[in-house]
Amino acid sequence: MKKEMIFAGFGGQGVMLMGRLVAYSGMTEEYHVSWMPSYGPEMRGGTANCTVIVSDKMIPSPLSSKPDIVVAMNLPSMLKFVDTIKPGGKIYVNKSLINQEVERDDIEVIKVPANKIANELGESRIANMVMLGNIICREEFLPLDIVKTSLKEVLPPHRQNLLEINNEALDRGCALA
């Protein structure tokens, strides 16, 4: 088993955290994992992305030139990475913010109304967790429970009060899968 994933979006959408949770959960499940962020002069509103690899073998390169999965939280991210996806791979598209269609027929396109559901829950900032819940339950290589436990470990003490609503978002995303 080896999954190469790229999480991409605006700075502030929480794409780094999504990737970290996958890496952390993979580590908990005793996979080899790596998490590599883009670290250009990005700022809030700019684009950000990270590459996460989860594998049952040692991970040689922590970068991915042909990812299995791309998660695009906004349009610039979709346009930037859609052509890199391995044939037969998948793209998760944040339908709430992306109207444009994917013009490849050799990959699977999964549309998730991440912001819409987040807004229904009353907190637009948890769109990332809606998306992540969907990915986890569709890909099935990590249990959702482990992701929730990881979230608890990864969130700093002063953010622990947000656990419940994040878990709710994960569940809602999962239910759509």
Partner: protein, 354 residues
């Protein structure tokens, strides 16, 4: 086994320094290594240590000089342009034979360059770094766990040889997260004795820490003494890792991040039937020339992969010259990282092995 935690390379090195008994850090911020001082800025006070952000890199390296002279386990970190500024102090530290650990998270250059990963400081790191005839002990990790292990080793080696040790990595190793565990922990109260330190002369002859030596004959003696130390490192401390040397027809030589990417390229090549092996130097000084020389007895083609226009490749050429093997080179620069596919294309160009 200690619990695994997911950590950035920069933070993991910082924690490893604490685990190695280091209690003093002097530095100046620069991307892509800022998480390292940021971590130590709260972590060192927690264990009774000193974190100090100096007014400049030059000041920071001279603070390291002072602390090392007083016998402290001390560290500084920077990235390429900052290391150039620290080089003066590092020459004094090497001249005065003091143990210290320096981290260089390389970024593209020359000048201010960029902030993305590069391996363009190999010459600077391994060929003396600054004025005077000296060498740093240079360690090059290729994963976050190895960065942790080598950081702890770096402090031990620095004390053993009374020589500055450079941990040479790049923005990728610094920024990426991988699982690490901290197996070793050294009590700062239980460090090797430093009878040469200037830590108060009460009841003994005074010690002098100095790098000025105006008598040429004396200075030559000192240079020879340093040389003996470097020779001993070359004899006793060489480290490397090899893959598939038994059946290889082409051997890649790469360190750090380039080695990680090259391992992926090696896998791709092997899937297509190319018999590719790899030598990954872990110590860049002392350089693992013997294993490369020995390998060149039966290998005609070497491919050196670096994130530079070609620096380590010169050491590989020297190592294989007796056997007339061809040394090919592939490099990306400026913060661009080679892809496994690009390296595979180079392997195919060389053509052997299939």
């Amino acid at each position: 086994m200690a619990k695994k935690i997911l950590m950035k390379g920069n933070e993991a090195i910082a924690e490893a320094a604490v685990k190695a008994g280091c209690r003093y850090f002097f530095g100046y911020p620069i991307t892509p290594q800022n998480e390292l001082p940021a971590y130590l800025s709260w972590r060192l006070p927690e264990v009774g240590g000193v974190f100090l952000q100096a007014e400049s890199e030059v000041a920071a390296s001279n603070m390291v000089y002072g602390a090392a002279g007083a016998g402290a386990r001390v560290m500084t970190s920077s990235s390429s342009p900052g290391i150039s500024l620290k080089a003066e102090g590092i020459s004094y530290i090497a001249g005065a034979e003091l143990p210290a650990v320096i981290v260089n998270m390389m970024r593209g250059g020359p000048g201010l360059g960029g902030i993305q990963p590069a391996q363009s400081d190999y010459f600077q790191a391994t060929k003396g770094m600054a004025h005077g005839d000296f060498r740093l002990f240079v360690l090059a990790p290729s994963s976050v766990q190895e960065a942790v292990d080598l950081t702890i080793d770096a402090f031990e080696l620095a004390d053993k040889y009374r020589n500055p040790v450079l941990l040479l990595a790049d923005g990728m190793i610094g920024q990426m997260m991988e699982p690490v565990s901290f197996e070793r922990s050294i009590d700062p109260d239980d460090l090797p004795d430093k009878p040469w330190a200037t830590d108060g002369a009460e009841g003994r002859e005074k010690n002098i820490i100095n790098s000025l030596s105006l008598d040429p004959a004396e200075l030559e003696k000192h240079n020879q003494k340093l040389k003996e130390k470097y020779d001993q490192m070359e004899k006793e401390e060489v480290r490397y890792e090899t893959y598939y040397l038994d059946d290889a027809d082409i051997v890649i030589v790469a360190y750090g991040t380039s080695a990680r990417i090259s391992l992926s390229a090696m896998e791709l090549a092997r899937e297509e039937g190319y018999k590719v092996g790899l030598i990954r130097p872990i110590t860049l000084f002392p350089f693992p020339k013997e294993i490369i020389a020995k390998t060149s007895e039966k290998i005609d083609d070497f491919l050196t992969v670096e994130m530079s226009t070609g620096q380590m490749v010169e050491d590989v050429e020297l190592a294989v010259c007796a056997n007339n093997s061809s040394v090919h080179f592939y490099g990306r620069t400026g913060g661009m990282i080679p892809t496994p596919e690009e390296i595979l294309a180079e392997i195919k160009k060389i053509g052997g092995g299939k």
